[in-house]
Subunit: 144 residues, 2 copies
DNA sequence: TATTGTTATACTCTATAACTATA
DNA sequence: TATAGTTATAGAGTATAACAATA
C-alpha cells in the first residue's frame, strides 16, 4: 500500500518516478536474465531491429548512452551472435551494426517478457489507466 | 518533441519513467544547490519536519536508504545546523533526530523550489493532467 | 585536424563487512 | 548475542582522457 511511504515523499514527483522506475527495472532485469540479455542489450536490439544498419555512435545517441558505454553493450550482443559488426564501406573507422536472425528472435522473446514485467508493475491499474499513464509520460517527455 | 526518441524505447515503460525521473532529478538538484541542499538532504528534512523525533535507521527505512548511506546525509544536515542529533534516553546507542527552526525554514524554501522544478518538468501537461499523472503513479506504487 | 571505436582511469552511488558502544 | 551508528572497502554504473586507425 502507498501508505508505507511518508507523505512528504509521495508529494515528490521524482520520488514517485524513481520508485516505479527502479521497481520496473528490477523486474525487467529478472525477466531478461533468463534470455542472457541485459536491459540495455535488449533495448539496443529493439532499436536495431527497426532501424539497422546503424553505427555504434548512432545507436548510443538514440539510446542516450555515451559512445564509450555502448561498446560493452555491443560486445555482448556480438559475442552472442545477436548483432554483426561490419566495417562501413563509406567510412572504414565506423562499424555498421545489423541484427542477425537469432537477434531478431531474441528481441521478440525479450519484448514479450518485458511486457509481462510491465503488466505486473502496473498490476494496480486497469487497462485504460495503464494506457493513460504511458500517454501522459510520453507527452511530458515530449514537451520538456 | 517525443519523436526524438526511437519508438522501441517509447514503448518501454522503464525508459519513459527513467527519462522523466533523471530529468526531474537534475532539475531538483539544480534548484536545491542554491540552498546548499542535496536532493536526499531535502527529502530527509521533509520527512523529519513531519515526523521527528526519529532515529537514523528509522529515517533511512522511511526513505528506502541503507543505514550506512544515511550517515553522510545526516552529517550534512547536522553540520549546517538543520537537524540535531541527541542521544536517545531510552537507548543510548541511537540518536534521536530533530529538525531545528532553520531546518524547517530550509525545508520550506526547498519545497517551493522543488515545486517549481516539477512544474517545469511537467510543462507540457495542463494542471488536470499533472494531477492525473501523480495520482496514477501513487496508485501504481500502492498496488505493486 | 577531426572522428570512430577502444581502453584505461576516475568518479559517483550504494551496499557489505567489520568496528565501538551500548543493550 | 544483538543492535545503532560509523568507517573502510568493494562493486556497479557511467563519464573523461588518451590512443590507433581512418577521414
Amino acid at each position: 500500500m502507498a501508505s508505507e511511504f511518508p507523505s512528504p515523499l509521495l508529494d515528490r514527483l521524482s520520488f514517485l518516478l524513481g520508485k516505479l522506475y527502479f521497481r520496473g527495472l528490477d523486474a525487467e532485469t529478472d525477466e531478461l536474465s533468463a534470455l542472457n540479455l541485459g536491459v540495455k542489450q535488449h533495448a539496443a536490439l529493439g532499436v536495431l531491429t527497426r532501424e539497422d544498419p546503424m553505427t555504434q555512435q548512432e545507436l548510443g545517441h538514440r539510446m542516450g548512452i555515451d559512445r564509450t558505454t555502448i561498446v560493452a553493450v555491443v560486445d555482448d550482443l556480438d559475442e552472442q551472435g545477436l548483432v554483426e559488426r561490419r566495417r562501413s564501406p563509406a567510412d572504414r573507422r565506423a562499424y555498421l551494426l545489423t541484427v542477425t536472425p537469432s537477434g531478431r528472435d531474441a528481441e521478440e522473446r525479450g519484448r514479450h517478457r518485458v511486457a509481462e514485467a510491465e503488466d505486473r508493475l502496473l498490476g494496480a491499474l486497469d487497462e485504460p489507466d495503464r494506457t493513460r499513464l504511458r500517454e501522459l509520460l510520453v507527452r511530458a517527455l515530449g514537451g520538456g
